[in-house]
Amino acid sequence: MADIKYTDDHEYLSIEGDVATVGITKHAQEQLGDVVFVELPEVGKAVAKGDEAAVVESVKAAAEVYAPVSGEVVEANGDLEGNPGLVNEDPEGGAWFMKIKISDKSELDGMMDADGYAKFVAEQG
C-alpha cells in the first residue's frame, strides 16, 4: 500500500519504495477548471525540491507544478499530452504527472497526510 503525502502547493505524492508518483490534487484541478494542456519534464531530468517540473494550463490559468522532492524524473505520463482532460477526470489516479526517484527521503518529513490536507484546504476557504 502506497503512502500518500500532500504539499501546500496542492500536489500529492504516492510513495512506493524510493519512487514518488506526483500529480495535482482533486482540489487543485477544481480550482484550475478544465485543463487544456500539460507540459511534462523529460525523463532523466534531475530536479531539486521546489524546481518547476511541469506546467498545467486551463483556459484561464497556467500553473507551475513544482518538484515536491529532489531526485530524478524516471517516468512522465504521456497520456496527458493527448488527453489533458484526464487531469479533471482522474487527478489522483490515471492523471499522475511524473515519477521521481527520491534522492533524500527526509524531504518528505512534515508533508501532510490526507486528513491534514483536507483540513488545510478547508482553512484556505
Partner: protein, 448 residues
Amino acid sequence: MRYLPLTDDDRRSMLADIGVQNIDDLFADIPEDMRLKELIDLPRHASELEVERQLGEMAARNTPASSAPFFVGCGAYKHHVPASVDHLIQRSEFLTAYTPYQPEISQGTLQYLFEFQTQVALLTGMEVANASMYDGSTACGEAVLMAQRLTRRSKAVLSGSLHPQYRDVVSMLSDLSETSLETLAADPEGTEDIIASIDDETACVVVQSPDVFGRVRDLSAVAAAAHEKGALVIAVVTEVISLGALKPPGEMGADIVVAEGQSIGVGLSFGGPYVGLLATRQKYLRQMPGRVCGETVDANGKRGFVLTLSTREQHIRREKATSNICTNSGLCSLAFTIHLSLLGEAGLMKLASINHANAVMLADALAGIKGVDVLTPSFFNEFTIRVPGRGVDVIEALVDKGVLGGVPVARLVPGEKNLQDFIIVAATEVNTAEDRKAYVKALTEVLS
C-alpha cells in the same frame, strides 16, 4: 463641446446625487499642491473647420506618393487599394469595437481574424499564423525571441541583407536581454556565406527574401544547414505582394515566417500603423507570441470563434508570458484580409506579375543611362543601382525634378562608407510608362 454629452445642469445634479459639493472633491486624492489651478498652456478647443484648416496646412507641406512618379520602397510600398476596403474598415462595428473578449458579441472581429490567419498561412506556405503583430520589424524581433525559447539557445545570426532597421530592432533586443548576435556585413552583391556562421549555439538564422537590396533568395540550402545544427530559420518578407509570384518560405524550409503586410490593404501613412504577419509550424504553436483566434462551437453546437491559447499571454502568464504584446494590429489586419479576399489567388498573382514587369522594364531603362549599374540580377519589384556620386545627393536632385526616385542605402546604414553610391529602387502597379520615362529623363539630367 461637441464630444461631451453632459450639460452643466447634468453635472450639478450628478454631483448632488454623488453627495459632493464640486468636481474637485472627486480629485481630492491628488495631493493639493500638485493639483493644477490653471488650464495647461495649450490652445483652447476648436471647431471641426478650424482643426481641418490647421492640419490641412501641415498635410499640404508633404508630397504624397500619388502626386509624383514614385519609386520608394524598402519595407513600405505604394500600391493601389480598392475603394471598398476603406469603406468597410470604417464601419462602426469594426472601427469602434475592442479586442473580442466577449465572443458572443464579437463574432465579426473573430471571424475575420480566423480568415486572416488562414490567408497568412496559405500565403507564406506555413501551417499556422497569429492574429497579427505591430509590424514586420517588431514581428522579426519577436520571432528571434521565439526561436530562442524553442531551441533554448541564445545566438541569432542575421543576414547582411536583412532590412537594416529590422536588424536594429533585433540587435536592440539582443543588447538589452544580453543574448548573442552575429550580424553579417551588408551584402548588396549577394555573396555572403551565412551557412558558415551557423554552429551548435545558433538558435536561428534570419534571412530576408526578396532581401533589402531586392534580390530573390532561395532559402533551401540555408534551411538544410540550419536544421542540421538544430537551428531554426526565420524568413523575412517586407514586400508581401512578392508571395504572389515567388515560392513561399514555407516550401523552402522556413520554421517561422515574418512579414510586413502593409502592401495589402494598408496605406503608406508615413510608416505606420502597419500589420505584422507571423506564421509558423503547428508544433511551435505554444511558443508563438500574440493573440490567436480558434474555431469552436457554442452551447447550441453552432460554429463560432474565440481568442484561444491565452495562457501564453501576459494577462495570464505575467512575467512568464511569451511576449509583453497586448494590442495587435486589428483594423490593419481587417484591411489586409478584405483586400486579399478581393484579390484572391488569381488577382494576387496578376498583381505580382504586373509589379515584376514594371520593375524589369524600369531596371532595363535605368541600365541604359550612362554611369548607372543595376546590381540585382534576380528580383521581384525592387532592385539596387549604383550611381556615380552620393545616392543621397542624387535622390535630392531628383526631388527637384519632381521624381521620388528611391532610397539611398546610406540613409539606412549611415556608417557604411562603401555603400554611399547605392540607391534602392522599387516599381509597383501604380507606375506608368510615363513615370518610367520621367525617371530616366530626370536621372539622365541629374547625372550629366
